[in-house]
């Protein structure tokens, strides 16, 4: 488990980009944290690290539930914000994870757990500063 402090959205993105560079197909990243804590910003960084083109915007998937981005490995960006836990079963998350990197916002709402996942916790310290804890299952 590693604890980071970022002082701006840019730093959060850079931290995630480093992680993104090391990801492989099948990796699952679970994000936990409040509104405005930096989850979507973190996914932007992951996307850059995975080689998703700059002009391909990582938009919030709250509306569409699942966004897919073309990188060196496909990135599946899921948001459970609007879902009830029982609805999550219908998304076929395990299948998505087999085809690329799966990152899930609002993982608090997952009704089941994955055998192996990278858990990232976000905490708002002040207007700019965020505490980010990255916990990797081995």
């Amino acid at each position: 488990m590693e604890v980071f402090k970022t002082k701006s959205p840019e730093e959060t993105e850079q931290l995630a980009e480093k992680l993104g560079k090391r990801l492989a197909c099948g990796d699952i990243i679970l994000l936990f944290g409040d509104l405005g804590a930096g989850k979507t910003t973190f996914v932007k960084g992951l996307a850059r690290g995975l080689g998703v083109p700059e002009d391909y915007y990582v938009q919030s998937p709250t509306f569409a539930i699942i966004n897919e981005y073309p990188g060196r490995i496909p990135l599946y960006h899921v948001d459970l914000y609007r879902l009830e836990p029982e609805d999550v079963y219908d998304l076929g998350l395990e299948e998505l994870a087999e085809q690329g990197v799966l990152v899930i916002e609002w993982s608090e709402r997952l009704p089941f757990s994955f055998d192996k996942a990278i858990k990232v916790y976000f905490e708002i310290l002040d207007a700019q500063e965020r505490k980010i804890i990255i916990d990797i299952d081995i």
């Binding site: 409040d34 569409a64 539930i65 609007r82 609805d87 207007a127």
Partner: protein
Amino acid sequence: MIILAIETSCDETACAILKDGRYLLANLVASQEELHRRYGGIVPELASRKHMEIILPITEEALKKANVSLENIDAVCVTNGPGLIGSLVIGVSFAKALAYGQKIPLIACDHINAHILAVFLEKERPPFPFVALVVSGGHTALFWVKDYLEFYLLGQTRDDAAGEAFDKVAKLLGLGYPGGRIISRLAEEGNPDLIPLPRPMLDKPGFDFSFSGLKTAVVNYVNDLKQKGLSIPLHDLCAAFEKAVVEVLKEKALAALSATNCQHLVLAGGVAANKRLRETLKQEAQKKNFRLYLPSPEFCTDNAAMVAVCGYRKYLRGEFASLDLDVYARATFKKLSL
């Protein structure tokens, strides 16, 4: 020539019947608002189940209202994206069955294209080319519209859509669903100039938007007051937030008009029903000397009449879909670089 249109891309089940591209014989929308209010947002699985229940009765009701029978329908058109996959599939499957059963053409419509064309349901119609500002729960974008079915992306949101920012701020403030309308109502009694909030992207060139940072600014403001044990000035905060969103939309739209050397601005999408946005743009239109086209609120929020307009244009060009028509969640637009 009579066209029947189906729209199920999100949480409204809608059916419309349009004659000769301009006479709206029926326009019905069954809102799922009541259902989703309990959950504070749309629940996709519930939404698609509800579409399934409503789609047949609403189509029968539309035919009755239009006083036509299925035999009078010349083509059926349907939204096949972007939207929630589970919801889109219901409308598309229904439309396919109807087209196959009646042996009439099936037409696929893009939801955003339909929003842009909603203005053609009004008496006052813009000439081409025009600039369209599409603002809804899932989209915030500016387009240069060359023709009915040909439009180019000038800029879009890099993170949250404007409507989504409204919904999330409403949820944060514990205001319930649908957030946009509740915030606007509270904002009417507030002073928009007491709480300083950022105007994201206005310091940057181009026509992209970003509303995630604005949402975070509201989070920070609320957290700060909570830590100090102070109460939140709800009306003023809603007013300040709404003003910030509207100003960014206005400024980028004006910049798009000037960059494309265009004098016609069309407003579209669910957030286009927002009073403050409409009033602000009306004032600007008078000041800056451009023409503003505002579809009535019923044509701004999701509806099938706009899909029928889009379908009619495709019908005229013979752009029909086959019965293996697929749905898509995310839009891809042709870009225009200025």
